[in-house]
């Protein structure tokens, strides 16, 4: 058959704790070895209950045919990135196997393999060879890459002086011109300006129509639906649904709407720090008295508090929320705009709070998403529809219209009326 990727029972287990984040010191190893000699406390192998390990991916199987464009969706920590890492051979599975036919090109994170001190030209060659091209191959595609990225004038400028948009364009251009048999796209299209996004989507579509295969990971359900024919939904490391894109996206959207553990507050399990620069740890909606709540009065307004951690310095980081109405339409977006950590961006734990004033949102039900992002470059973390808020009417005067659609934003405008 024309199966281009076939995976059987792929599983990946990580160690938790100090060794998962970074260091494994000699002392630890010596202690471990000594323990196992004496037969006590030896780590139980393959035992799922062992607290020192966690399965990022468990028994994932699928077959992908040539020319398929497959969306991989799931919440943060569902195992999407781990799956891509296994398929691009960055790391070995703990169990299971997969076979891939053809050259694999990954478009992972923006700027991986770019050196800020080197010029655009030098970086194109560095990045191209990193993706497995030869220098000659890069040279023949050089003009096309430069044209696609629209950086002709800055070719001999160190990329540290590039705008974030230029950076993204250059990174995408190099990967897109690799002409792989299997293109792995991880969340990159969520960034860049609209025109460039369209161009990138066009390029991905191009890859697909030439009979090549695309694996597309995104939180942007719009992009997934328009690009992919098929989707795989991952949840806690396992495939929950593998089917047509509409079927899977539907399931994902309904699934994410019911995850709050305590009313008005959701916490997230900290994920391994080596994989990410930071993450959202908790999100809470608070009433005017500062209590976690799901209901708030129309005149009181409410606050949204985000707790998050930065593992590495992230320049230009912003923290933001999106508010959606019950139909899933976005009502507004708000971000810290300036880096939340002031002039420094040191790693650490932070808490940001934004107040949404009273007499602003029409009494109704709203969903709030959170994100940590570098505008136009990348998302550090995204949490979809994390908490919900019910705004209870207490004198908006709108009860007169109960049951009818009066929009989402309440405005008190001056009307002038004259009799003709």
């Amino acid at each position: 058959m024309d199966s281009i990727i076939s995976a059987q029972g792929l599983s990946k287990r990580y160690r938790l704790g100090a060794s998962a984040t970074n260091d494994r010191t000699l002392r630890e190893v010596i202690v471990d070895k000594t323990r196992s000699w004496f037969g006590s406390d030896a780590p139980a192998n393959g035992n799922g209950a062992d607290k020192r390990f966690f399965w990022a991916l468990r028994d994932v199987s699928f077959d992908i045919q040539r020319g398929d464009v497959v969306g991989i969706i799931g919440k943060n920590g569902a195992g999407k990135s781990t799956l891509l890492k296994l398929l691009s051979r960055i790391t070995d599975p703990t169990q299971g196997r997969a076979e891939i036919v053809g050259r694999v090109g990954s478009l992972l994170e923006v700027g991986t393999g770019f050196h800020p001190e080197l010029t655009g030209r030098e970086n194109i060659f560095l990045n191209g060879t990193l993706m497995g091209m030869s220098r000659r191959e890069v040279a023949t595609k050089f003009d096309a890459i430069v044209e696609f990225a629209e950086v002709e004038r800055f070719l001999d400028t160190p990329v540290k002086r590039y705008s974030s948009g230029m950076y993204v364009r250059l990174a995408f251009a190099v990967a897109a011109h690799l002409e792989p048999d299997v293109l792995i796209v991880d969340e990159v299209l969520a960034v860049g300006d609209m025109a460039f996004q369209r161009k990138c989507l066009g390029k991905v579509q191009d890859v697909a129509t030439h009979g090549n295969t695309v694996l597309f990971v995104s939180h942007n359900m719009g992009a997934v639906t328009s690009l992919c024919t098929r989707a795989i939904l991952l949840e806690r490391g396992s495939v929950v649904l593998d089917g047509t894109v509409n079927e899977v996206v539907d399931r994902y959207m309904t699934g994410t709407a019911n995850q709050a553990q305590t009313p008005g507050r959701i916490t997230y399990q900290p994920l391994p720090a080596d994989d990410r620069d930071g993450q959202v740890l908790a999100m809470t909606s608070l009433d005017h008295a500062g209590r976690a709540c799901e209901n708030t009065l129309f005149t009181d307004g409410f606050s949204v508090e985000l707790e998050y951690v930065l593992h590495r310095r992230v320049p230009d980081l912003e923290v933001s929320i999106d508010v959606f109405d019950r139909n899933g339409a976005k009502v507004f977006y708000s971000s810290t705009r300036r880096p939340p950590t002031g002039d420094t961006f040191e790693p650490g734990r932070y808490r940001s709070r934004v107040r949404i004033p009273g007499k602003f949102l029409i009494p109704n039900h709203y969903w709030i998403s959170a994100a940590m992002l570098v505008p136009n470059v990348r998302f550090v973390d995204q949490r979809e529809r994390a908490v919900s808020v019910q705004i209870v009417d207490n004198g908006s005067d709108l009860h007169r219209f109960a049951g009818t659609d009066v929009g989402s934003v309440w405005v008190d405008l001056e009307w002038g009326t004259t009799r003709e």
Binding site: N22, T25, D92, L108, L130, S134, D274
Partner: protein, 296 residues
Amino acid sequence: MSTTATKTLDTPQRVQPRAFIRPRSGWSTLDVFELWRYRDLLFMLAKRDVMVRYKQATLGVAWAIIVPLTQMAVFVLFFGNLLGAGNKANEAAKSAVIYPVFLLAAQTPWNYFASTVVSACNSLVGDSNLIRKVYFPRLVVPLSSIGAPFVDFVIAFIVLLGLMLWYGMSIVPALVALPLLAIAVTLAALGVGLLLSALTVSYRDFRAVIPVLIQLWFYATPVIISLTWLGEKWNWLLMLLKLNPMAGPIEAFRAVVLGLPIDWTGLWCSLGSTLLFIIIGLAYFCRVERRFADVV
């Protein structure tokens, strides 16, 4: 063959490469073909290191000249004049030896070795963002760390030739023999560097150990003195020091520069232990490289 190896050298248009992804454990062998396909990456990473190094420094290339010369001046002052190593050199060679040349002839290959080992050790951790996000043969990273030290070595080598000309010595034997010895030094540096780079990823302790190790190694290597100065009663130590992969090449380097006879036994001993280091280094590297992305 390594189990996840891509089984062909051809372009995808002709024969589809096939990747097998499955757990690996125990010892695995080096995939030379794959490494060869990534030779351009090796070159680009080395070039990157060289460019970044000289772009960031205001004095740029000048450092490659200033540093070894300053080092030499200090050694000449302390060991040559104050401790009488200069006279000792004359006695041992039974002729007038120019101690600054004696020193620089050993320092040049030593510095090349030491800085290659140090940068190889830091290379995997330094490029951890690449290792975590892109697939390529990991061996490329420590191998490419030879780049910047090599450029420094070439510059220092030219300085050495200049110094020899200044003292009216013939540079012809040096021009012929030293590039060959430089290969021996490169192999020694890579063998040691590979082993230590993989150990550094597995155990971060090694980052603290390496400066000390290099310093001790310096004193176990005949840079300031020559092994020929050791008398009869130090025979056991001499045998031990000859196993140092750097002892033979450095003594030979100096012998060529000063026009003295080469100690072939010493050179072969060192080449033997270099080979051993390369085998152990490669074997350990291949054993642990699949874990790099998870732990680096």
